[in-house]
């Protein structure tokens, strides 16, 4: 029911809308109140008021008012549109879509609503809905090219390639005059069409189309690359080779061109012929790096087999000498991928030694001429230090020797100190690593890279506060939140993750969860960020980049950053759950837990006090600096964090539900990551979702059937099923029986475990896992603790294994703990964790 207003109020209403658009919320609110005084039940005005107060951060009030507006005038598209916007603001996209649709039904002519709806649909990947919306928008304004392109994109994303092409062609056919040659939108749209044809795998047609547009297209590089690609896919090898050569003439540093050229020439197996190609370009471009370096990937030394010569050694010698003479700091980083090959690893090491000897002989031990440059002898020392520090060729004593020699030569060089810190890290001495990295930082206070490294090493040494101070040297610190706030704003994921992991080690699970949640939210923001581009990219005509982005967004959380933070959070939630189960079940442990809880409370109180103090200080500082500014920051609504220390997160009553939230994207996007499947099992078995647990278990078994943790999980699963199978729904039990086949219900688990142990008796992680399993199956406690401590005497035991053993012994509250720690300290005196 329309609610007419007098002309004066009508203009007031228009003013409200304008004020809202200009973010003049106070004025808008005033004007709205004025209308409502005369017409207290005017729905549209109430809706606009709701929208404004929502922007001011009062979401709940806004929703209440929005609902009231709807009851006052339920036939108003404005009210429905506003309701949709409110939902949209809350990220409840499904409800928002419903509200928009209703608004559109009331006012089918509104471009605004149609647009909002369409963008939400593509954001939610509702392709069929998006096609409908885009068709309607095209019908409303067919003269706009972007509407045509947008419909094509809709079909394309929905998987209907031929329809997408048809839409684009239809538009092209309707043009009276051909678009100008500098029309960027046209050039991009035509290229977009070409990629669609190629996606249909009709390469001949794609090639023909490409040839027809090649002359006028503005993206020269894309035309050349696509042409070469189509030619090689069509088997026109000679033409393809010419095309790749043309590309190499443009850019001889692009590795893919070389591999493709070799591929179309069909000389992949012939090392000498391949080398000739690279040599040709190395000669043409004397400063080119790729042509010299890439052959190292495929060249092999054949002297061992025949007497044909050592191609790799010669090529590597040339490259290494050149780089070390020049003093390229990234030389080792450029070559370390070759270390996967044992013989190449050895050759590179001996070449670096040879180089060092020859330099020493010629320089007579005098210091290098120019003070700080990293070429010649120091470059060789730097290379060798990294060589012996690298995990595949590790000899830390030697690494330390070379790095110390380097420091002697160039005491002010950041690189040597940095490498020394890294060597300490590999010794397990996080304290010395952190100190050494900080010394390196002090050598160049303006270098952000070394500053960041120093902070990271401080976090590895569990110095959260110091690290934040270090980071604070390079962040913007004028907001009340200090450096941390800036790191959050800048989405510094690595810092948040490392900080969270350090808090875990420090036992502050509240702050750890806080950080992991921050990372989770950053990924949400990245997903949300695409919203602007649904309209922006179309208007700018950058369709290929847009489609790439949409596809990237669809698998955003496959990034290892996500997995790492999520696994951290899941581990905490699982332990929260286990602790709550323990306190509910066993009385004996309550005492200890009570103590712990009291201590936690005390620590929390102290932390809170400190935080308040810091906040006060920051506010004072800000006020001193600029009185107006601090007021502006404080007045910003909805920005205040009501749980800065993560107490609420740590006090969750549904840890497993939270864990599942973090888990789902890992299982969906990184199913080949075995630690993800292992974590999935831990969550699902606690939730008694046996089918899902089995799904993870089977996936993990398929990835690595001999994985120690997976073995443990197999036994636990069998045990759980044996005791629970009666109470499960029969259909579920049937599936479990048919799909869990590695051990059946008649197997003697102790024997099963013993044979697994026998098979892997020399591998520390397997021994740890089987001893844990033994204990689970009821073996004698003292014996298992002794067995576990025995890991120390295994040949392959590393300090990381010993750290794991120590953690388990602590968890078991074993009497062996201190003895073990002392023994480990004796064996690895440098490791901070045993000190």
């Amino acid at each position: 029911m329309p609610q007419p207003l007098s002309s004066k109020e009508n203009s007031l209403f228009r003013q409200v809308i304008r004020n809202y658009e200009d973010k003049q919320y106070k004025r808008g609110l005033k004007a709205a109140e004025q209308i409502l005084k005369k017409n207290p039940k005017h729905g549209d005005t109430m809706a606009m008021k709701a929208l404004i107060i929502n922007q001011q951060g009062k979401t709940e009030e806004a929703f209440a008012l929005g609902k009231e507006a709807l009851t006052a005038d339920m036939k108003s598209h404005i009210c429905w549109h506003v309701y949709g916007l409110l939902y949209r603001h809350q990220k409840n996209f499904e409800e928002a879509i419903k509200a928009y649709k209703f608004a559109l039904k009331l006012e089918p002519e509104s471009h605004q609503i149609q647009r909002d709806l369409a963008f939400l649909q593509i954001q939610m990947r509702d392709y069929q809905g998006y096609i409908q919306s885009r068709t309607a928008m095209l019908q409303a304004r067919p003269q706009l090219r972007q509407n045509w392109t947008a419909l094509a994109v809709a079909h394309h994303l929905a998987g209907n390639l031929s329809q997408a092409e048809k839409v684009l062609t239809t538009y092209e056919d309707s043009l009276k005059v051909p678009p100008s040659k500098t029309d960027y939108e046209n050039s991009e749209a035509v290229m977009y069409k070409n990629t669609i044809i190629a996606e249909m795998q009709d390469y001949q047609r794609a090639l023909d189309h490409l040839e027809s547009i090649a002359k006028t297209n503005l993206d020269r590089l894309a035309v050349l690359e696509l042409r070469a690609d189509y030619l090689s896919k069509l088997g026109k090898k000679e033409e393809a080779a010419d095309a790749y050569r043309a590309l190499l003439d443009r850019n001889p540093e692009h590795p893919e061109y070389y591999t493709k050229l070799v591929e179309v020439l069909g000389i992949g197996a012939d090392g000498a012929a391949q080398k000739a190609i690279y040599d040709e370009y190395a000669e043409k471009n004397p400063r080119c790096d790729a042509a010299k370096r890439l052959p190292l990937d495929f060249l092999v030394d054949r002297e061992l087999i025949t007497n044909l010569g050592d191609d790799f050694r010669e090529a590597a010698r040339g490259y290494l000498t050149l780089m070390l003479d020049k003093g390229v700091p990234s030389t080792f980083a450029n070559l370390k991928h070759l270390y996967a090959d044992q013989s190449k690893r050895d050759t590179l090491g001996s070449l670096a030694h040879e180089y060092l000897e020859s330099k020493k002989a010629s320089s007579d031990g005098s210091a290098p001429a120019d003070g700080d440059s990293l070429n010649g002898e120091p470059a060789a020392l730097y290379y060798l230090a990294q060589h012996y520090n690298y995990h595949l060729s590790r000899d830390l004593a030697k690494a330390m020797e070379y790095v110390d020699k380097g420091i002697e030569l160039l005491p002010k060089n950041v690189e040597f100190h940095m490498t020394k810190a890294r060597i300490w890290k590999h010794y397990g001495n996080t304290r010395k690593a952190s100190e050494t990295m900080d010394e390196a930082r002090k050598l160049d206070l303006k270098d952000r890279y070394i500053n960041t490294k120093a902070a990271k090493y401080q976090l590895r040494n569990d110095e959260n506060e110091t690290a934040l101070k270090t980071m604070g040297l390079f962040t913007r610190n004028d907001s009340p939140g200090g450096p941390l706030n800036d790191l959050l704003d800048m989405q510094s994921v690595w810092y948040l993750t490392e900080d969270g992991e350090a808090w875990v080690r420090n036992g502050n699970i509240g702050l750890a969860l806080k950080r992991f949640h921050a990372v989770y939210n950053i990924f949400d923001v990245w997903q949300e960020d695409q919203f602007d581009f649904h309209s922006f990219s179309l208007r700018k005509g950058q369709i290929r980049a847009y489609v790439d982005m949409i596809r990237w967004e669809d698998r955003l959380r496959e990034h290892p950053f996500y997995t790492r933070a999520a696994l951290g959070a899941i581990a905490i939630y699982v332990s929260i759950y286990d602790r709550s189960q323990a306190t509910n079940g066993v009385n004996g442990s309550e005492d200890a837990n009570g103590d712990e809880a009291a201590e936690r409370k005390k620590a929390a109180k102290k932390a809170k006090k400190e935080a308040q103090k810091a906040e006060r200080e920051a506010a004072e500082r800000a006020a001193k600096q600029d009185p107006n500014k601090s007021k502006g920051a404080a007045a910003e609504p909805g920005k205040k964090d009501d749980d800065p220390l993560g107490f609420k997160l740590a006090a969750t009553t549904e840890p497993l539900a939270e864990a599942t939230k973090f888990l789902a994207p890992i299982l969906q996007f990184s199913p080949k990551y075995i630690d993800g499947q292992i974590a999935g099992f831990e969550v699902f078995i606690r939730r008694e979702k046996y089918l899902l647990a089995l799904r993870c278990l089977n996936a993990a078994l398929a990835l690595d059937a001999d994985h120690p943790t997976v073995h443990e999980q197999v036994v636990r699963f069998r045990q759980a099923l044996n005791s629970k199978v009666e109470s499960l729904p029969p259909k579920v039990a049937e599936v479990l029986k048919s799909k869990f086949t590695i051990v059946d219900d008649t197997t003697d688990l102790k024997k099963f475990n013993a044979s697994f142990q026998e098979k892997h008796k020399d591998s520390p992680p397997h021994v740890i896992s089987t001893v844990k399993t033994e204990r689970l199956l009821g073996a004698d406690k003292t014996k298992t603790e002794k067995d576990l401590a025995g890991v120390l005497s295994l040949k392959d035991a590393s300090y990381e294994h010993a750290e794991e053993v120590l953690a388990i012994l602590r968890q078991w509250r074993s009497g062996e703990t201190d003895t073990f720690k002392a023994a480990a300290h004796e064996k690895w005196p440098e490791v901070t964790a045993f000190a």
């Binding site: 658009e21 002519e109 067919p142 329809q163 309707s174 259909k731």
Partner: protein, 122 residues
């Protein structure tokens, strides 16, 4: 547009870049300037391209497109009877939404055991 409409929300993620440029403007004049600025790097949205387009051809082209998309969109949904108890079982055991569980069951002719087996095998 007969009536003025609320524009997009202004928080970062909504609306689009040009709107934001306009929204920060303070007065009518500022707004004009902002609009002019925003259109600097767009190649004549309405006016420009409509000249190049043959209106008649466009409307004809529109017709040729009509009906196409919706026909292509129709999926062949199998008519399978699904036991609500099985749907509930799948929802509970496999953490699925009701809709997904129903689809999964339908894809396996309503056989809950086979549906669950297939699900955990992927």
């Amino acid at each position: 547009m007969a009536e003025p409409q609320p524009k997009n929300l202004q928080e970062g993620a909504s609306g689009d870049v040009e709107d934001e440029v306009q929204n920060t403007a303070k007065s009518a004049e500022d707004r004009k300037a902002a609009a002019a600025m925003a259109s600097l790097d767009t190649r004549g949205d309405d006016a420009g391209s409509s000249n190049a387009v043959d209106q008649e051809a466009v409307s004809k082209a529109m017709k040729s497109l009509g009906g196409g998309p919706s026909a292509g969109a129709a999926k062949d949904v199998k008519k399978v009877k699904v036991d609500p108890a099985d749907v509930a079982l799948l929802v509970d055991e496999l953490d699925l939404s009701k809709q997904k569980a129903t689809e999964l069951l339908k894809a396996h002719d309503g056989d809950a055991v086979r549906a669950m087996e297939a699900f955990i095998a992927t």
